[in-house]
């Protein structure tokens, strides 16, 4: 009885046979050699089956049928892959007011965006990235104001804003911004005082601005000092006190010049110009 070979043994025997080994040499000495010899011999019988070429007529007939079918497939393929016809797109009718409408829309968008930005900047604090835009806008407004009294009134308002900024920054423990805000506060007060004291006409509008200035400059930076103290910021606290001390002397001279304080002993001590000859009630 033959011992069964394995697929691997058969493949190896076929390979050795193709390399020129004899049938016995190809199958080797394995127990399955008997069966392997029969299988390899049978494979070679299959290989020896007569394989003839097609007669020329048959080959040409098959070729013609194949190529004709290819042409039909080609036509179908081209039909399927042709781009669909699309009607040309007509341009939209041009309305006479179209450009005006577009311009108006652009203006509205710019206005809304600009207003939003201005509002955001106006509400910003010194530690905000929009704060430089806010101060720039304020400087522009000041530069465009020509009337000294009106300009002084604007400076009084800005001084008040800087004072509030200083309080806010001190509460946050931001000493550097506190000092710069307070410094700007005093600078605006000095400028406003100089402008008012330089006016000879003391009308109702002048008095109104002067009173606002007196009221604003009477604020003491108590909250500022408390905020810095709470944050143990002694360095900036010292700077704040120095600013306050520096302004105290100027403030007295300003009062005299604006007619709200006792007359100065020497006329050269006014803020910017000699105090008015008679105190303004």
């Amino acid at each position: 009885m033959l011992v069964e070979s394995t697929p691997k043994q058969l493949e190896e025997a076929l390979s050795r046979r193709r390399q020129g080994a004899s049938l016995a040499g190809a199958t080797g000495l394995t127990p399955a050699a008997g069966e392997l010899e029969h299988l390899v011999a049978l494979a070679e019988r299959i290989e020896r089956l007569p394989a003839e070429l097609a007669p020329p007529g048959a080959r040409e007939r098959a070729r013609s049928r194949f190529l004709a079918a290819g042409d039909r497939h080609r036509a179908s393929w081209v039909h399927q892959h042709r781009l669909p016809h699309r009607a040309a797109r007509h341009p939209a009718p041009h309305h006479p007011l179209r450009n005006l409408f577009l311009l108006g829309t652009a203006l509205v968008i710019a206005l809304v965006a600009g207003s939003g930005l201005a509002l955001a900047a106006g509400l910003s604090e010194p530690d905000s990235q929009l704060y430089p835009a806010k101060t720039f806008g304020q400087r522009v407004v000041l530069a465009l104001t020509t009337d000294p009294v009106t300009k002084a009134g604007t400076e009084v308002d800005l001084a008040n804003q800087r004072f509030q900024d200083a309080e806010g920054m001190a509460a946050k423990g931001k000493g550097g911004l506190t000092v710069s805000s307070l410094s700007a506060y005093y600078a605006y007060l000095r400028d406003a005082g100089a402008k008012l004291s330089g006016r000879d006409v003391h009308d109702a509008r002048w008095k109104q601005v002067r009173d606002r200035l007196i009221a604003i400059k009477s604020q003491t930076p108590t909250e500022v000092e408390r905020g810095l103290t709470e944050h143990n910021d002694t360095v900036h606290l010292g700077e704040v006190r120095q600013l306050e001390k520096d302004f105290a002397a100027d403030s007295k001279r300003m009062d005299v010049a604006l007619g709200v304080g006792p007359p100065a002993k020497s006329p050269g001590n006014s803020v910017n110009s000699p105090p008015s000859p008679s105190p303004v009630p």
Binding site: L10, L39, I46, A51, E52, A54, A62, A69, G70
Partner: protein
């Protein structure tokens, strides 16, 4: 004669050929036909020993190839194993059998008759391995099987054929 091994350049050329054939360009179809028709025909003729049947089966195999060419994905063995596989399927669909009652007058007829009694899978593998002369890898690529499966199928097919031949001799 076994097919020559496919070089990288030949594989690239055939990839280009297939792309053109999938667009049904006539020159590409002619090239495929002229390259592979004879090999496929010879294998089918070796199986049936009849030019009429070989012509019908080979022709139909190439027409089927045209039908499904757009879905053809390049295989490691290339187009040849695929066309041989299609031809073997067409032979099965054709329903060819040795003429019943006819006593084999030739050794080849006896072997063809025994081959026709194998399962379709076994017939495909033996045809591609020994009539076309393809290596196991190409047969695996052409029939969508793993190499181990092809070797096992080939082994079982030859064992079955051996038993059939022995039975015929005994009869």
């Amino acid at each position: 004669m076994p097919p020559a091994p496919i070089t990288p350049q030949a594989a690239a050329d055939e990839r280009e050929l297939v792309i053109r054939a999938q667009r049904y360009e006539p020159e590409a179809l002619e090239e495929i036909y002229d390259t592979y028709f004879d090999a496929v025909y010879r294998a089918i003729f070796a199986r049936v020993g009849d030019h009429t049947v070989a012509e019908a089966v080979t022709g139909q195999a190439f027409l089927t190839a045209l039908e499904i060419l757009p879905k053809y994905h390049r295989r490691p063995g290339g187009l040849h194993p695929w066309l041989q596989y299609l031809a073997a399927r067409e032979l099965r669909a054709h329903g060819w059998r040795p003429t019943p009652g006819r006593h084999p007058v030739h050794e080849a007829d006896e072997l063809r008759g025994a081959l026709a009694e194998l399962t379709p899978d076994q017939q495909e593998v033996l045809t591609m391995r020994f009539l076309v002369g393809m290596p196991v890898e190409a047969v695996a690529a052409g029939t969508g099987r793993r190499r181990g499966q092809v070797r096992a199928l080939q082994h079982r097919a030859l064992q079955a054929l051996l038993r059939l031949m022995a039975a015929r001799d005994a009869a």
